[in-house]
Symmetry: C2
Subunit: 328 residues, 2 copies
């Protein structure tokens, strides 16, 4: 099959770039040093490629992702790196299941749902989830008192990861990991789980890095000077051409927009995005029927709009993978 035969908009992934990104990470952080986060790609077929280069431990963000990974035979060591209260589905999985906890309620939920292992999620500076560092040892004791095994700590330096300035990223990461390693000393366990694509080289304190975006990348991450290339784009068709601008058929329902407008390959300038349309100023003449590659500003919420990702080599579609971990 050729890309010209794909119904647009279509999520496409360069096979060669994906392979390079996976290989680069596997060389930098082999095996369990990287715990790939599936939330960025939501695709078990892609996770299998990550297994092929040596990673067998995975991070998930939703119960649905945990279920899907277990069902795909990828349940050797699954971490739900998020707080959940509805744990009954987790307790039933045929997989090694570890859950992040940051409160009495989430510890209780893990215990009552049949989960056996937890990580203490510690607030390291991002105003999101995570128990305060001072309260972490008490929470670990509570978990153990309920029969849960505490595998260690988790802390996400999300306030550092997207910073353009690598030195700022480094110093904020160091501050965050100072907190986390201190708490780890008090809580115990084998794991210090932290980091992401933006700090995979910087964060040398974590025993494992939770990186997701590196596999497919996006326009925002591509600006951080990382050794990963943009592998994903949204294939679109030019459906209308007027003097000075043109319109392609990739709109708001095919692109995560929280990081702003996408870019377009070949230097066309995006004007605005509507529900079904992308209006742009062409850098060179385009005609109705031309295909464009639209480069998403943020990979995670872009992928979540698509039922499939098509793995391509130039104009050849090699495989079409179901984005099978969508939903909750």
């Amino acid at each position: 099959m050729k890309t010209a035969e794909l119904q647009t908009p279509a999520l496409i992934v360069s096979s060669a770039i994906l392979d390079r990104n996976l290989k680069t990470m596997a060389e930098a952080l082999p095996g369990g040093r990287c715990r790939p986060h599936v939330k960025a790609h939501k695709t078990t077929e892609l996770a299998k490629r990550q297994v092929e280069v040596g990673h067998v431990t995975f991070c998930c963000a939703t119960v649905k992702e945990m279920e899907g990974m277990a069902a795909a035979g990828l349940g050797e060591d699954l971490l739900l790196a998020n707080e959940v209260l509805d744990t009954t589905r987790l307790g039933k999985l045929d997989a090694r299941v570890t859950v992040a906890v940051d409160s009495d309620e989430t510890v209780q939920a893990a215990s009552s749902g049949g989960v056996r292992e937890v990580l203490i999620d510690v607030n390291v500076g991002l105003p999101r989830c995570g128990v305060s560092p001072e309260d972490a040892p008490r929470l670990a004791d509570l978990a153990r008192s309920l029969g849960l095994s505490v595998r260690g700590v988790m802390g996400y330096e999300g306030h550092a990861i997207g910073l353009d300035d690598e030195e700022a990223r480094r110093s904020l990461t160091e501050e965050a990991m100072d907190i986390l390693t201190k708490v780890h000393g008090e809580v115990g366990g084998d794991l210090i789980s932290a980091g992401g694509t933006g700090t995979f080289r910087i964060n040398t304190w974590a025993t494992e890095i939770q990186a997701g975006s590196y596999a497919l990348m996006d326009v925002a991450y591509a600006k951080l000077g990382l050794p990963f290339e943009l592998a994903v784009s949204v294939l679109a068709t030019v459906i209308s051409v007027s003097p000075g601008y043109a319109v392609a058929d990739a709109g708001l329902k095919s692109l995560g927009m929280d990081h702003g407008n996408p870019e377009i390959d070949e230097g066309h300038q995006v004007m605005f995005v509507s529900d079904e349309h992308l209006s742009f100023m062409p850098s060179a003449p385009v005609k109705v029927g031309d295909r464009l590659r639209v480069l998403p500003a943020h990979v995670d919420p872009t992928v979540a709009y698509h039922s499939h990702m098509h793995v391509v080599d130039g104009e050849d579609v090699l495989e079409s993978w179901g984005v099978d971990l969508r939903g909750w």
Copy 2:
């Protein structure tokens, strides 16, 4: 079933408000005067409610929506109010199919795909699709020469529809419709199809109004002083509470973000939205496990993330409808 049993995040719709919105529109623009746009709700069960109040003509934005509406028995008069080149699926539908055209290529595609009726889509000021007014008669002639029936003209005053200032909305709509009615005089046909929720009262020139958002509404439309109420929200669970802020489990994969942050019922202040999380400053104490209703800034790209919408009366879930028109 109770809303407390719903897995969150979950798209919920107030049955009473939905009914009121549908009734208000059906009274203002009865029958064919409103051609409801399904792109905003992507749900054939909701479209059936629109039929119940008297609308049997519908607008779609994608081939998938056309197929789904026809398959649901709602194909009495379906307009694809968008330009498409891949028309073969349309030609096979068991429905009355009309397609918007704005170029020689889209006219040719309609003809070769077996479509029999078209509307000439005219640029009335929004830099998106639409043939120039001067070229519209020639395009209509081309369509007729290929055996297509030209049902009239279409023109979307999208640059006016979202303006807060009702007088500006009115004057821009008038300018746009001056163009469209003039072209209609040259092109002929029964239909002048235009407008949307923001101009449904203002646009008195169109023979039919393409309104979609009025059924469910969103935070942006709620600011325009329209007689429709917000019917849709994303039910979320508080999963973490820290001093000064808390986190709910509705993130970027459950909310269209192009119009900015959502709001939260009960006056909680949104701080930021992450892939899986909504960090907010509570207006009153919240605890882990509390449920919140997150009000989307933009309905269309929000609905497109969800596989189902749950129709509720208070805490009772009356029905769960598949959002069956997603994809392309």
